[in-house]
Amino acid sequence: MQAPVQPPFIPKHLVRLFVCGQNAEAIAGDLAEEFVELVSTAGLEYARRWYWRQSAKTVANLAVATFGTASWLMSATIICGFLLLGFALSIPERMIDAVLDWHRHGVIPYYTWPQMQSYLFWLNNAIMAGRLITAMLVGCVVALVAKRREMVATTALGFLWAIFGSVDLLIWFAKPAPLRTPVWFLLVTTYVYPLALVLGGMLVRIVRSHTARRSEEPTAH
């Protein structure tokens, strides 16, 4: 027996992540029903393209509607999230500095140039990893506050951060050479932290929907 044709994986899960409440089941069902209908009338390729287009539009429409229905909550959450992220990103650096200072008893040792390079490499990477984890945690906090709008809130915050970061990047290009921060650092700050934020929102959303599904299941006696 042939297995039923499944809609594309990514848009199917995007809809599942972004749409919640009583619409979640109805919209997923509607898209699945029309997809099956289109596969038999217009072919699999057309149906897949249609599913991608419909899912993207659906997510965008519902995200805009979410802002319309809870504009104050969303704006406050995003602004507070932005400030929190700005503050929290400095914590890993300060923590690592404090630990290193404690470890060497406040004395700066003598480093040869290769030792210095190696030290800076590990220091920068540890700070970067710490910041990525911090951004993800901030994403979790924002998602928890935004209640059933986790993905919309964290994605909007990610976009806001990326816009500000892009301005920083433009300034980077305009600055004279000696003041330049490494470009890879700015690229990570601008475009990878927002992804970590969204990942945090995604984690909270997944945990919440699993908890909700479990509580809806009838208990076995």
Partner: protein, 110 residues
Amino acid sequence: MSSRDYLGEFEQIVILAVLRLNERAYGVTVRQEIEGRTEREVSIGAIYATLDRLEAKGYVHSELGEPTAERGGRSKRFFRVTGKGMSALHRTHQAVKNMIKGLKLAERYS
């Protein structure tokens, strides 16, 4: 009477589609009805965003149907227009009719 008592353009289209479909009005049929009659591509998200707004205003009412296999075991959400929704639709059409009265639109656009 506040301006909120009138329906927007897309809200009117959605309510009319629900009225046309009668007992069969759910996401897929409403979307197909609108696409078929207005020849514009509409997303399922736009339909639900509008229906949610109309339901919050008390213009439509929804209830979940039985889950079906072709929908992967998911339920349909059926919609029907309430009395309040009918009044809002009538009021909006009346307002448009009043605004058009006396204007010779056919001559202007011919």
